[in-house]
Symmetry: C2
Subunit: 470 residues, 2 copies
């Protein structure tokens, strides 16, 4: 939305490096502007020049080769998956090579009897679920976008099913990755638990491409539930919907998904998906289990919803009806962008302890209403996590300023309430100041020390998570 | 059992350090032999001279003071909790100060409505559960011993409830700890999930005291289940019991606990607890949920057990009856030690993918039987984890050699089957070679690099997890 930031002016890429990459990869090493731009832009609000080259790796040895060559020439490497990150993770703020691993999308091995699968990093969540459904299994983590599993691990993604199944933190059993020396490192195993040494798996999960390039992931799987039932319910206010969600969680109902859409989000998906939903705050819920347990959960939730004025409780038990509802939920972001043509968005991602969720949302809504910026809310409210997205006219810098100010207020509030600045999107470029506010200089200094120890040249995705120097 | 190992001969403790500690702590800094020996011996098989001093800290500032003083004099610091670790974690292999945090056992804050609690590291799991039960909540991680929460985090402990509730890895939301500079570091928050930077929380969980001294933990809690039911069932063979457990897990039954005791373990607990149980392989199971869901789970499991020749299925629904059974399970280790007076034990801790558990156990049993050493088995078989403990006569070094050989064979087999050398006890002194076998030199080199970056003087619990130099 703005002119390229002059801070992002990398040195030219060494000719010897480009020659080595071209010799090995041929047409799979590209410097074409269109290819570079496609790898240098994401859903974030930043304008940064694209990477200087894009390499399409097809196997782990090729990843290692790229890293070794880049290390020899001190040129950055930015792992690239589906490009669906929201915080500027894939932007080449110091130039370098975008290392595209989308072609590494094989299912390496499926162990249905152990509920584990090993995959390459470029496989997307939909591809994975398609490949395993014949075994009656599924991988629950669903950030909305059809993200790559490598990228989901790198940002510690979660999404709609996290309330029951956890996030990528809980569902990655082990990894293979290429470290800054260009060596392949293995972590974890297929065992369900382990106390064997430092938890390098979880150090890589959420490291946003700054510690290594993930080349293989071993994941937990779950049996497809015997019964699945989805329901929607409309509320007189956002507060009433949130109070219902809070009580559902506090009563220990093992709900699988518990999503909030505000009236603005519903208006957008109605336009986009022709759903004809009531334009009022809505909870979209899903229950997994045996027939008996699903019925039990649903009865409890319906009663709680009624107590908060919930109306028009409507069930979707057929897969088609459920798919239609969840598709609408997943389209909310792009549907909303289309309500203000040409707009870009700043999306917040605070997550608070569940008892603080109503306060966290209600004040944020009041502030957004007072500011007069177009916005919408979708929330994984069962986790205490919601996204308030401001829709900005790129021609009006004052709108961005307002949105940034509101976002700062919201984060400061979430931290006061015992929460985090980012439930699932990561730090990237946008939240580096918030990270210091949240965890303190001492913790960030330890992160920097880990980075310096494992990537002394600052090769991997530089400029993300924290400034390399304090 | 042997003469002290001459490798463990630390330099004398600097008089200035001892003076500074004595000035600050008075009688809470002790060099009395009895106190030092009590802090220098655990359940492991190693004989190491005790630490040179023991400090009883009462708050975080005191912990920081000890670390700062120790750092200034380059003297090791070994955090000490309940002393129940099994792998030599608390042994002063390079001398130094045992930093006892047992007096830091306060419940700092309870947030029942968020299912979180913040505690000091010295609180034990029984103390914690006693302190929160009035709210209808519990903390499920149960390693058997009444361990301290700080120690449980440091070894990434798990135990009987992990099959349903996960391990310390999944149940620590955040930490405070004193780093090697003597600064207090905060990680995590009370939010259920976060993507804010590197996962320092999980880097500390399982670091065995080598990266910092934990001074506060924020934990997940769970509502006490509406219904709890425990059952025992006897099988014609260990294999039949294990096949049952495997099918229970593979069918996705949300069983809370699924423990195996072999005939040797039952013989020991019969002697110790006068239980009169049949001396045959037994599964001890527990189901949590609503009345309906517990009945459903139990029916499924009883049917599976019958198919494998399970007999004498017996229910314990009253708290008293359940407590009696679980006490027996928790006494198995010490009961078995008493069957061979004066013996010490080597306890294995492999964990494999569930489908490989029968192979893993059956071959290990055959090898132990062939070797003729007394042994017993208890297993968290729902997780693929079991402990085969050899009971050794300290006067017969050949018994230790045999046990070590069998243990090595068992670990090598577990690794071939996709498992780990330690499901929950940690690496400590005993399994450092196994760690390299399991994860490879590259991963261990990364662990060493992290250690060197965060504790450049090698101050915290030196000589554990891996040799500091390759």
């Amino acid at each position: 939305m703005n002119a390229p930031d002059p801070r992002f002016a990398p040195p030219a890429m060494p000719a010897a490096l480009l020659a080595a990459l071209t010799e090995r990869f041929g047409a799979r090493c590209s410097t074409a502007l269109a290819v570079r731009e496609q790898h240098g832009r994401d859903e974030s609000i930043f304008d940064v020049p694209p990477p200087q080259a894009v390499v399409f790796a097809e196997n782990e040895a090729e990843v290692a080769f790229v890293v070794q060559q880049a290390a020899a020439h001190q040129v950055p490497v930015i792992p690239f998956g589906a490009g669906s990150s929201l915080e500027g993770h894939l932007l080449a703020v110091r130039g370098g090579i975008s290392l595209d691993v989308n072609r590494m999308n094989a299912l390496v091995s499926l162990n249905a009897e152990d509920l584990t699968v090993t995959v390459q990093p470029g496989i997307t969540r939909k591809q994975l679920n398609e490949a395993i459904k014949h075994e009656g299994l599924f991988f629950p983590i669903d950030p909305g976008a059809d993200a790559s599993l490598g990228g989901m691990a790198a940002t510690r993604a979660s999404g709609t099913n996290a309330v029951r199944y956890g996030t990528m933190r809980e569902n990655v059993l082990g990894l293979r990755f290429v470290n800054a020396r260009g060596e392949v490192v293995r972590t974890g195993s297929r065992a369900k638990k382990s106390s064997a040494g430092y938890d390098l798996t979880r150090l890589l999960v959420g490291s946003e491409g700054t510690l290594g390039v993930i080349t293989e992931l071993t994941l937990k799987l779950y049996p497809l539930p015997q019964a699945v039932s989805a329901a929607i319910c409309f509320f007189p206010s956002i507060d009433a919907a949130v109070q219902t969600a809070m009580q559902v969680i506090q009563m220990g109902v093992p709900i699988a998904r518990c999503e909030l859409l505000d009236a603005n989000a519903i208006r957008a998906v109605n336009l986009h998906d022709k759903l004809g939903l009531r334009e009022a705050p809505m909870l979209l819920m899903e229950f997994h289990g045996t027939e008996g347990s699903v019925a039990e959960q649903a009865a409890t939730v319906q009663e709680l919803a009624s107590e908060h004025g919930g109306e028009a409780f409507e069930w979707a038990t057929t897969p088609e009806a459920r798919t239609r509802l969840w598709a609408a939920r997943h389209h909310a972001y792009f549907s909303a962008l289309q309500t203000r043509p040409g707009c870009r968005s700043i999306t917040t991602d605070t997550c608070v302890p569940i008892s603080r969720l109503a306060e966290s949302i209600n004040v944020s809504v009041a502030e957004a209403d007072a500011a007069g910026l177009p916005y919408f809310i979708v929330g994984h409210v069962g986790d205490g996590n919601f996204h308030l997205a401001y829709l900005l006219d790129p021609a009006k810098p004052e709108e961005r300023e307002t949105a940034e100010r509101l976002s700062q207020q919201m984060v400061a509030r979430a931290l006061r309430l015992g929460g985090t600045c980012t439930g699932e999107h990561g730090i990237g470029l946008h939240k580096q100041g918030f990270l210091v506010d949240e965890t303190g200089e001492e913790a960030v200094a330890m992160m920097r020390a880990v980075k310096a120890a494992l990537d002394p040249q600052g090769l991997f995705n530089p400029g993300k998570v924290f400034a390399t120097q304090p």
